[in-house]
Amino acid sequence: MVRTASGQPGRIPGSQDPASPAGRAGRRGPAGPGSRDGGGARQRAVAFVRRHHLTPYVLLLPSAVAIGLLLFWPTVQIAEFSFQNYGIPQLTGQVPTQWVGTANFSAILSDPEFWLSLRISLVFAAVVVPLTLLAGTLVGLLLNRLGPRMAAFVSSTAMLAWATPAVSASVIFIWLTDPDGGVVDWTLSRLPSWLGGGAQWAGFSWTNSALPAYTLLTVLVVWQGFPFVAVAVLAGLKTIPAELHESARVDGGGAWRIFWRVTYPLLKPIFLVLLLLSIIWDFGVFTQAYLVTGELGNRDEYNLGIYAYDRAFTMPPSYGIGSALALILTVILLIITVGYVRASVRQGAVQ
């Protein structure tokens, strides 16, 4: 997999080379002095493309250029910058950038803030991913057993949570848990103590330290994430023939047993893809974490992505250290992505 990923960008431009002169000739055609000559050039270009079976490459060219320049090239640059000293003096051109070997990485590895942010990212993903999958699966199973109208109603409301932009969802949840006037603190302070309520909740700040902030983020991310899981699980359940469930029920299986004996094995590929996608999304969650932890500044609440962003952009900016952190984040996510791609290929999604 990794070989494909790294070999790919080298190969694509090579395969486009023959196509690009043809494309250019085609565009130049009408602008030429005589329209007849232009038409001729165009026809020759079309014939050239046909003869060499270049049509698919010509069609892929725009997307390959856009992805190459704006996704692939920046990733290469991140890798490059992470071995350089790159700050404001280098940006303004007063001092040339210098290669510093692995100095950025050794600085990061001896930095307790890096380890804290990594731990926060890992623990957050480890808590949120199972919760999202559990909530999504339960709602998916429920949707499958509801009548068509009720199912449409419930899935529409879930769709609304999914459609809520990350920025809106974040400000809503921050407002819900606001110490002055937020409905969550008000409710908690009025709950009986055996339910965990009590006066200590009045004016409780959820965003001032890491544990409450990430508890809030957990609820927020599960709320936004479960509908996708529910819809995917429901789509998978629809493909299971009803007779399978019925015969299992006749054999005397309870709901729990039927799920683990019949449903889960059949939906395993879908669960694997959902698991990997959720890990990638939740490990790298940025917008919600950035807003809930109070934009930048509360360093003990950073996850890995926010820490990289902070080191790159907060004064004094260090694009080298920021890039090195970004590279670490990218590599971690790429390792999980390899699993995701393998699962997709095994399912026959890449045909």
Binding site: L71, M159, A163, P165, F228, A235, L334, V350
Partner: protein, 283 residues
């Protein structure tokens, strides 16, 4: 007896469904309800679910732009411009690519599809560092065109995957029949492919629309200090960042920003989810 247990079970399931729907809707409901509350009710010691004296004051202050000094329309215009331009570019580019991977057999086809799956997962908060430096030297910071370029490119991996499924669903026989009748490739594209892929284009463009409309990291980083260029997500958080937090205005701004997305989503819900699930899970 049996009948009764079945109706009981049905009622129980329906009650559970209603409960899930209510819990899911609550945050959205609270946003809209707060947006209509006057300040005295927002900061009252006992919050009420519905505003006792509903007011449009919060919406008025958002639309007048008292806090930032520019009217709401300015930011709506920015967001619409960036979103519509990047959706159009993304649809054009990804339709070409989708036809290539769905209709042709060629050497790097599988590699290209796998490459799309991989780049789709690259973290934006990592790439924003390099793109910031590139765009700075190209003069594309504080410039909406820079955002259009980024949004177009970043939506491509998913839009190509989604469209690929819709193109593949167009029966090949129809194209072959038209070719036998003497129609050239261009005519086949306009007369057969485009009309049949149109619903897929709508569903896919909704995805691209939502991605560009909601995008936060690049807008935050590229649109530094030039308030006039802000897109709506940055406008919403601008309210949030200023000392005394005016929750009424934030919820009003957030409502105005969120409702169009939700409307879009509900309209194309079924196709959208089918396409997304097909793209993410299986074709």
């Amino acid at each position: 007896m049996r009948l009764r247990s079945r109706t009981l079970r049905r009622a129980g399931l329906n009650a559970l469904g209603v409960l899930v729907a209510l819990v899911t809707l609550f945050p959205i409901f609270w946003m809209v309800s707060t947006a209509f509350k006057p300040a005295t009710e927002i900061y009252s010691l006992t919050p009420h679910p519905l505003p006792a004296h509903p007011t449009l004051g919060n919406f008025r202050s958002v639309i007048d732009g008292k806090v930032i000094g520019l009217p709401y329309w300015n930011f709506l215009k920015n967001s619409l411009f960036v979103t519509l331009a990047s959706v159009a570019a993304s649809m054009l580019i990804s339709l070409l690519a989708a036809i290539a991977v769905a209709r042709f057999k060629f050497r790097f086809r599988t590699s290209y599809l796998i490459m799309l799956l991989i780049v789709q997962m690259l973290p934006q908060q990592a790439m924003v560092i390099a793109l910031f430096l590139d765009f700075r030297s190209l003069g594309l910071l504080d410039n909406l065109v820079g955002l259009i370029l980024v949004y177009t490119a970043f939506s491509l991996p998913v839009t190509i995957w989604m469209l690929r499924n819709f193109v593949a669903a167009v029966p090949r026989e129809m194209e072959e029949a038209a070719a036998i009748d003497g129609a050239g490739p261009v005519r086949i594209f306009w007369r057969i492919m485009l009309p049949l892929v149109a619903p897929g284009l709508v569903a896919t463009s909704v995805f691209a629309f939502i991605f560009a409309w909601n995008e936060f990291i690049f807008a935050l980083t590229f649109l530094g200090t030039d308030y006039a260029k802000y897109t709506l997500p940055i406008y919403v958080t601008y309210f949030y960042g200023r000392g005394t937090v005016d929750w009424g205005s934030i919820m009003a701004a957030s409502t105005l920003f969120t409702i169009p997305v939700m409307a879009f989503f509900l309209i194309v819900q079924r196709r959208m989810t089918n396409g997304l699930v097909a793209g993410a899970v299986k074709g």
